[in-house]
Assembly symmetry: C2
Homo-oligomer: 407 residues x 2
Amino acid sequence: MSSDIPLADWTMGISRSALQDMLTTCARPDMLSFALGLPAAELFPTEKYAQSLARVLSNDPRSLQYGPPLQRLKQQVLEIMRLRGVHCREEQIFLTAGAQQGMHMLTRLLLNPGGRVVMEQMTYSGFQQVLQPYCPTILTVPTDLDTGMDVDAVERFLREEPRPSLIYSVADGHNPLSVSMSVEKRRRLVELARRFRVPIIEDDPYGLLFYGDSCMPPLRSFDADWVCYVGTFSKILAPGVRTGWLVVPENLVAPLSVIKESIDINMATLTQRAVSDYIGTGDLSDHLPVLRAEYRRRRDAMLLALQTHFPTGARWRTPESGLFCWVELPVQINGSELLRLAIDTEKIAFIPGFAFHAGNGPCLGSALRLNFSANSTAVIEDGIARLARIVNGLLSNRKLDDRRALH
Amino acid sequence: MSSDIPLADWTMGISRSALQDMLTTCARPDMLSFALGLPAAELFPTEKYAQSLARVLSNDPRSLQYGPPLQRLKQQVLEIMRLRGVHCREEQIFLTAGAQQGMHMLTRLLLNPGGRVVMEQMTYSGFQQVLQPYCPTILTVPTDLDTGMDVDAVERFLREEPRPSLIYSVADGHNPLSVSMSVEKRRRLVELARRFRVPIIEDDPYGLLFYGDSCMPPLRSFDADWVCYVGTFSKILAPGVRTGWLVVPENLVAPLSVIKESIDINMATLTQRAVSDYIGTGDLSDHLPVLRAEYRRRRDAMLLALQTHFPTGARWRTPESGLFCWVELPVQINGSELLRLAIDTEKIAFIPGFAFHAGNGPCLGSALRLNFSANSTAVIEDGIARLARIVNGLLSNRKLDDRRALH
């Protein structure tokens, strides 16, 4: 009894999303998940946000009505951008229903069907999904795990014709690779964008979640004309508020508002007022250091557990920002096999690295993305020890197989 | 200091939205607005919804976390669809952030760039905006103000090659024309969709706001395979909840969830839980008859005021559903001029009919869309009387001009 409705051509390439499948798997209460980029729910300022919602609704029933974007929230976003090291103007702020919507809108604004997009070989799968309906040519560049995106490779693509329509970058707390780009490379990347007149989408969900003394300057702080900055409250407040923002050149705001109207009528009156009320209480400035301290503790617990339990030959760096450790295992390990075993025998989930692979080049099959924000330090220590047992078991079997093959 | 970022080709055709401009104009506190399709804010169950939000947040902090679509809400939507005369299954329900998002997603699923779309000459501008990035060929059919869409004209387009990708219809409480389609035409339209294998997007924001004894059967009640139904809580609960749904053939749900993930990660945990909690209190079944009774009173107040104050030659029908009266004035009246005068001299706003004109054919310049849901009966009577004064003044001037021209 299936429908025969003819679908648009691009849908032929649709595949189920690994992250969406994982969301269902990880919803099982007995699952220990390192899989998703979930912020810690027990740190959400739930009670204070509930008070903000109640205050807003009791003050004005039109909080549930259609209404224009909230100017006061834009002004508060300016303050947040200042914390982030960016001085911008209210006329450059555009409010969204979260970072994913911001990227969806920018892509609609910038990319023609069949256009060219520069991104890293390992790229957040949500952005790859955004591109799918445009059937674009994906131009991928390597990433150095200490300094970030290969900017020389970007330049080679920018020199080619036809010119790419955009460059996608997560400069801080890269997802999935966890590297933060060196300042030197940031400067060069924005210079290239300006020189070749190709805009950068800077996806910055983690910039304020830094674990050193201060945050790195985002790409947007080097150039106001060629960087379209994507911000969100999902990681610093809560995903459930479904609120984010863009910082763009002023003349892009009018077309963006037409796009937003076409995708959801451009209004989220209640949510925007509640987030604004919450920020108005001053709580966010106290909340951010709490988040950073706790996530740093969890990161350190994961690094220590990896050090203690994972085999020689496994490699990782210390993430300076974001929610993930990127772990490369000896090449004998197959990420899919490990995931299946981990879920079946230990009820532990993670995302294998190849799920983030963009383009068609070769891909390390033995890497894992491990989230450290969603679990307590005790759970992290236990989970990494159990995951290590499976890894070590697989490696012993492989060695046994190899020896057998020798005989 | 404007940015030189090259935009996608389709944005050349972008124009500011009349509705968005009007939203700003009507936000002025001294403005009497018949312009927007606003439900009555004083009827929102604000306190009960605030209680639902508080209950949900205090019961589970993960209400602010990422999470999959809420199954319980889908089951509640089944009940609402039953009220609407449709028996469907949970596997056919897809939750959205409102009707506009539903249409955006269905279009992405069904329409290739440059494809063909069948719609009425007068069509909700929000749907026209959805289509813009696809640069489609728009095939428009006339509408009879008593029986709705010209189904013969639809058939002629369906016989042509290449086959259209979709038909857009608002069968109940048409926006802007306020007609509800005859049952006979509904039956024929879905038969055509099935015969020619062209799906219908049925946009149904007003179906439960009917002013007779019962609602008309929606297109979806005649065919489960070729009608994609778009529902929303915006008009029956409040726009601020930003929640709606689709009823589609089951096999479209998987690709829709990939599309939804790409546009906003497919999660609105808090809102979906709060709406579900509110419906769970049983309040919605009491709320709907209250809405219908009050909107009927307001409709009748508007019809009486039109009858009393508007000049001979002005024509309108009695809307059986929805939020609007469609008024055709004598052709000497220019809708833009009338709007300018109404705003400047009487601070009264409405939308001139031509703002809804799709395609390139001729268009009646003297029609108005007047909303009757957003104001009390007293304000409606006063506003229509004042608007009539301007209309009558313009007509007298025209007559004077005509007489002068004769001499």
